[in-house]
């Protein structure tokens, strides 16, 4: 990225950190404090979910702007503390919601805002994928990840809906199970949510880890928006080739614009232009509130109200 220097990397796992740093030819820092003290303008927190709060608070204390991976935290009070700590230290807190930078979803947003669909009345979203239990087994660890498929996937669509509608979720009904991928461990692998927004719109989310190993791609994200004038279906990852190889199954290499690049560009631009990023820690908190409500609904078997964390 032009004008951006990758100062270095820290990882709790020394060996892994050194390997990754070496691969990208950047310095490895033995402690997070050392990295945060290296006169950074911004830091990306991409640790296990349960460490987001501690690392973000440390960055805030060091006066470094933060781009934090999703979900913001594993518990509402942690998320609330992160937003407060960054506000108190006057550092930016951006949440990593790359779908805000998907040109496909931007087109859907244009269609909604431009009135193509008439009045939007409901949304159906599917964000399903493989169970991330291979190279990144912590995603299915109830403590490190904070949950399973609901914690992993719901925030993407919860945020995309808030962005598309300009409305907040008020009520959540959720069901979940642990059947997919023969997983009978501590976290849910399948989940369905029904949401109600404060403008009356309703929506659903499928967050399941329902793509088996061997599926042509890791998963995907799609949204179907229904309005008084018709329906629009958007699939953020439909821009792919279909490849068949004699020695492997079918694969779908993606050729569309990389939303992660758009997201990192915005983080840098917000710092350079001394402004709030277009997607903030508060957006991360709003999405986490939906996750929190979903887990309470799964527990009770009833629709529950979203608890505002602030």
């Amino acid at each position: 990225m032009p004008g951006v220097e990758l100062v270095g990397l820290w990882d709790e796992n020394d060996g892994r950190g050194r390997t990754t740093a070496g691969r990208h030819d950047i310095p490895f820092f033995p402690t997070e404090t050392a990295l945060l003290g290296a006169r950074l303008d911004g830091v990306v927190v991409a640790s296990v979910n349960s460490e987001h709060r501690r690392l973000t608070e440390n960055a805030a204390a060091a006066g470094v702007d933060v781009l934090c991976e999703k979900p913001l935290a594993t518990r509402l009070d942690d998320g609330r503390a992160m937003v407060a700590a960054c506000a108190a230290a006057n550092v930016r807190l951006m949440i990593a919601f790359p779908m805000r930078f998907s040109p496909v979803l931007a087109k859907l947003s244009d269609a909604i805002r431009g009135g193509t669909l008439g009045e939007v009345v409901c949304l159906e979203g599917v964000n399903t994928g493989e169970m991330p239990d291979g190279h990144a087994g912590w995603f299915a660890d109830p403590v490190l990840a904070g949950g399973g498929a609901i914690m992993d996937h719901v925030v993407h669509l919860a945020d995309a809906y808030r962005w598309l509608l300009g409305a907040d979720v008020t009520e959540v009904y959720a069901v979940a199970n642990r059947i997919l991928q023969d997983h009978h461990g501590g976290v849910e692998t399948g989940g369905l949510l029904s949401l109600r927004f404060d403008n009356g719109v309703f929506a659903t989310i499928d967050c399941s880890w329902s793509k088996p190993r061997g599926y042509p791609t890791w998963g995907g994200l799609s949204i179907e928006a229904v309005g008084s004038a018709g329906v629009a279906s958007a699939d953020a990852f439909r821009q792919h080739l279909v490849v068949h190889r004699a020695d492997a199954g079918e694969s779908w290499p993606f050729w569309g614009s990389n939303a992660d690049v758009g997201m990192l560009t915005e983080f840098v631009a917000a710092i350079r232009e001394d402004r709030e990023p277009t997607v903030t820690g508060v957006d991360g908190l709003r999405a986490l509130e939906v996750v929190d409500a979903a887990y309470r609904s799964v527990e009770s078997g009833e629709p529950v109200s979203v608890q505002r964390a602030e």
Binding site: E119, V121, C122, E124, V126, T128, Y173, V175, A176, N177, I179, L180, Q181, D182, T189, G190, G191, L192, S194, R196, G200, F202, T204, D206, S208, S210, K211, P212, Y215, V226, G227, S228, G230, V231, G301, E302, P303
Partner: protein, 338 residues
Amino acid sequence: MTFRVGIVGAGFMGETHVAAWTAERVTPVLLDHDAARADSLAGRFGARVATSFEELFAAVDVVDVCTPTHQHADVAVRAAAAGRHVICEKPLARTVEDAEAIVAACERAGVRLFVAHVVRFFPEYDAARRLVAEGGIGDPAVLRLKRASFRPRRAPGHWFFDPALSGGMIVDLMIHDFDYARWVAGDVVAVQCHSVAADRPELGVEHAYAILTHESGAISHVTGSWAYGPPTFRTSLEIAGSRGLVEHDSAVAPPIVTYLQPRGPDSDGAVGLPGSPLAEDPFRLELREFRGSIERDVAARVTARDGVEALRIALAAAESARSGRIVRLRSAAAGATR
């Protein structure tokens, strides 16, 4: 032995059944309160027309009920009382009480009752269910079923648009996938549904999502819609299991596509029908199986109890859409007979 069928109702479904029976070399006898309509349909297929229930029942062994939904119970109970086997279009009835009355009347009379849940006879749905039943994807976990079309082109005031008579889009259209979900993943114990029609009746938009919890622990997402522009009729299924996934989407896999130059206003039929070219259409396969089931006295793939349970789920969804509450259903196993 000849197989003698009477069809009550010469409307859209009546016509579909006349065509299917005729293809099966069965010439049905028609009865409709609108004699001219019955005559016209009969004339096109070389069928006969009856002018009263008595005349119809005297001429046939099986009565195929294709009337508006709210009239199913009256016709089916009469037919059963006359000792005639009953084939009834879905939904089995407008209310669970009516549906149970049909079941009871048929049991009392010792006649067979079949509910025409035709989706079970669509080859892609049948093949997916068979694959699951054979363990091809392990235990079913998360199902996604969608049936989306445009608002049926019928005159305002038509019974189809009156929820008191038809049950509305949730009961008439989504019941297909409620039945299919139950066929694949078993009895349903909880139903949640949001619908645009319940929330915003003034918009005239019909679109709903239902979330079902099955007794097995599986969960299903069902979408029903009349909100697409014509001539869309899109159906999709996705069944994710403990060891695999099966998908089908009519929009992704149409076997024949045309790219025509514009030539004036479109000429679509009154109601969209999903169509993948087949040597034998699903209605024909369905009626043939029902016939064989009667002639050989064996079970068909869809039972009377299946028809009652599908209706129970559909009415629960409609109630949830109205009330905003989760509707719990007792397991069908408790009440199941045959």
